[in-house]
């Protein structure tokens, strides 16, 4: 009986994983196809399409996306931590309302937000910031709720006795923030920042309104390309950006991963 249950358990896991990864497998397979038409399960393999990735057509948008995502991750990381600190740790009056306000961008569809930002910029006569500055600002608005929420949750779980212990040991507020509070909420903040990076890097609905012609982010470049052609280069671009995102997640895990410290071990 138990055996059967165990088998079913693992079967369920395998099915879910297959369900999640099969579309990705299709893309990977297509990117390796020697025929210029997109096919699944090609009988021969080639990596020739990946050579195209270094062309300016893909490299420039990729670099722009990385640049914007990095800045967005940094800004929303700092703002998110500050907001969560004020609301949760300092218990500002009206903190529930403030938190609701900070999370409100989540409730507006991105397309609507994109249109709204373009309209807003043209009304106040700032069409000039379209392109990188507008993209960064818009992506921060989009990513901030995630970072704030993650930081707030970490702070809410933070044991106040740690803070009191540090205080009784003579640590000033700034010292406690630096040595106790921030290190303790680091894992939560880092996962929030990772989300911010990915949200910005992958964004289409907002970016599509805000890019300047000829200076686009990678997802917009992909959209533009898809309008005219569907070939294995496309698949190669997607596989490469997937690998890039996975690497980013892995690196953030490494930096924030003090699971070893929290679960024992020594230095």
């Amino acid at each position: 009986m138990n055996r059967v249950l165990t088998c079913l358990f693992w079967l369920a896991i395998a099915l879910v994983l297959t369900f999640i990864t099969l579309p990705l497998a299709v893309v990977v397979a297509a990117s390796l196809s020697p025929s210029s038409a997109v096919t699944f399960l090609p009988w021969e393999w080639t990596t020739v399409w990946y050579g195209n990735l270094l062309a300016d057509r893909w490299l420039q948008p990729f670099l722009l996306s990385v640049k914007i995502a990095t800045v967005v991750a940094g800004i929303s990381g700092v703002l998110g931590v500050l907001a969560a600190y004020a609301v949760v740790y300092e218990r500002l009056p009206g903190s529930t309302a403030i938190m609701a306000g900070l999370l409100s961008p989540l409730s507006v569809p991105q397309i609507v937000k994109g249109v709204a930002i373009v309209l807003f910029l043209s009304i106040i006569g700032l069409q000039g910031v379209l392109g990188t500055p507008a993209l960064i600002a818009a992506h921060v608005v989009l990513a901030l709720p995630f970072v704030t929420r993650m930081a707030a949750t970490s702070l809410a779980n933070f044991d106040g006795n740690l803070d009191r212990a540090a205080q009784s040991l003579g640590a000033t507020k700034r010292q406690r923030l630096q040595h106790i509070v921030l290190p303790m909420i680091k894992p939560g903040v880092l996962s929030g920042v990772t989300f911010a990076f990915i949200i910005s890097f992958n964004n289409i609905p907002l970016s599509v309104f805000l890019v300047r012609p000829g200076d686009t982010t990678l997802p917009i470049a992909v959209i533009n390309y898809l309008e005219y052609s569907l070939d294995p280069v496309m698949a190669a671009v997607n596989v490469a950006s997937m690998i890039f995102i996975l690497t980013v997640i892995f690196l953030f895990e490494k930096v924030g991963g003090f699971s070893a410290q929290l679960h024992g071990g020594s230095k």
Binding site: L169, A171, L262
Partner: protein, 360 residues
């Protein structure tokens, strides 16, 4: 300059209009081990937090070495603090934890190293410096917390139920260790606990708190022997508490008529007509042989053994001495020949000095 490390001068504290501590006056001399003992909700932790500076008194004054602390934030009070849940910094090694206080003060590295080693040695954890707290047992973690608190050499150490999370054997061992460390460092310890045995075992002085006020304070033995109120008699140790209908001051004794019975007990206590209750510790009641007479204790009561409970070292008897009145009697197991049969009749002897008059 006086010799009190800590003084509370008519300190009161209320939260949202509800009084938690009321007009508390307490003086703690330098180098003393003082326990604040009381049930949960008696205001003992609030009192400790006011000394530490995490709570501000609603009125009154907290003084450390004669200096008012009301406007001084916790980080500048130079008091060590030990918590029930250890509150070790999980992202720092044991050595980093212990050195934290000195590091925040900008002490030179070499000095910190020495102080950390000394502190770890005094809690017998030398060699554990490079480990992380989660790799240690509960008892070891609490000793790290203790080392962390004493490393910056605070004037006073405040301990908030530090042993409550440990198991019984370890708790008993740690009691002795804590007392030894306190004597070695000659530091003032203020120890908050709800465990009366713990308070008895370690303290130079016990402050029993109830409903936000001090119910009684004194040396452990005198609190146990002479509880002043019904609450203290009940909370500290086990006792037979009897309601008194009427008390008659005699030439040398106070005669207490026990409510609802014909029993009259003599007590050595001074008292008046208003005595409401009295207390007799179960171990101070003697089982008398029939032949025993005259010279022995002056209160003699006959009763029937209704229940016998073996507690290991002791046997507890419940003896019905009158309708509706039973006394708990504790007999050492080593004198098992004295333990009577169930339902047998026994004579109890109670020395008048063991009948303690209580006030409410």
């Amino acid at each position: 300059m006086n010799s009190f490390d800590i003084e509370l001068v008519s300190v009161s504290k209320s939260f949202a209009g509800i009084p938690v501590v009321q007009d508390l006056n307490l003086q703690i001399p330098r180098g003393e081990f003082v326990s604040i003992l009381g049930p949960s909700g008696c205001g003992k932790t609030t009192t400790l937090n006011m000394i530490a500076g995490f709570n501000t008194p609603s009125s009154g004054d907290v003084r450390v070495r004669g200096k008012s602390q009301n406007r001084i934030p916790p980080e500048r009070r130079n008091l060590g603090l030990v918590f029930q849940n250890y509150a070790l910094f999980p992202h720092m090694t044991v050595a980093e934890n212990v050195g934290f206080g000195l590091r925040m003060r900008g002490t030179p590295k070499a000095e910190i190293g020495k102080a950390v080693d000394a502190a770890l040695r005094s809690v017998r954890l030398d060699g554990f410096g490079s480990r992380y707290p989660k790799a240690l047992s509960g008892g070891q973690q609490q000793r790290v917390a203790l080392a962390r608190a004493i490393a910056p050499k605070p004037s006073v150490l405040l301990l908030d139920e530090p042993l409550s999370n440990l198991d019984l054997k370890l708790r008993e061992a740690m009691r002795i260790e804590l007392k030894e460390i306190q004597e070695q460092l000659d530091m003032t310890f203020v120890y908050v606990t709800h465990d009366q045995e713990e308070a008895m075992a370690m303290s130079d002085r016990i402050v029993v708190m109830w409903q936000g006020a001090i119910a009684q304070q004194g040396e452990p033995a005198s609190i146990y022997r002479n509880p002043a109120t019904r609450f203290v008699a009940d909370f500290v140790g086990r006792s037979n508490i009897l309601s008194v209908r009427r008390s008659i001051p005699g030439p040398t004794f106070l005669e207490l008529c026990i409510d609802g019975t014909q029993i009259v007990l003599r007590s050595d206590c001074a008292g008046n007509n208003a005595v409401q209750s009295c207390c007799i510790r179960p171990e101070s009641i003697a089982l008398l042989n029939g032949s025993d007479s005259g010279t022995g204790p002056q209160n003699r009561l006959d009763g029937v053994v209704r229940r016998i409970v073996n507690l290991g070292a002791h046997v507890e008897l419940l003896v019905e001495v009158a309708t509706g009145l039973s006394l708990m009697v504790l007999v050492p197991s080593s004198r098992s020949s004295l333990v009577p049969e169930l339902a047998s009749t026994v004579t109890l002897g109670i020395d008048p000095q063991d009948v303690q008059v209580l006030s409410d």
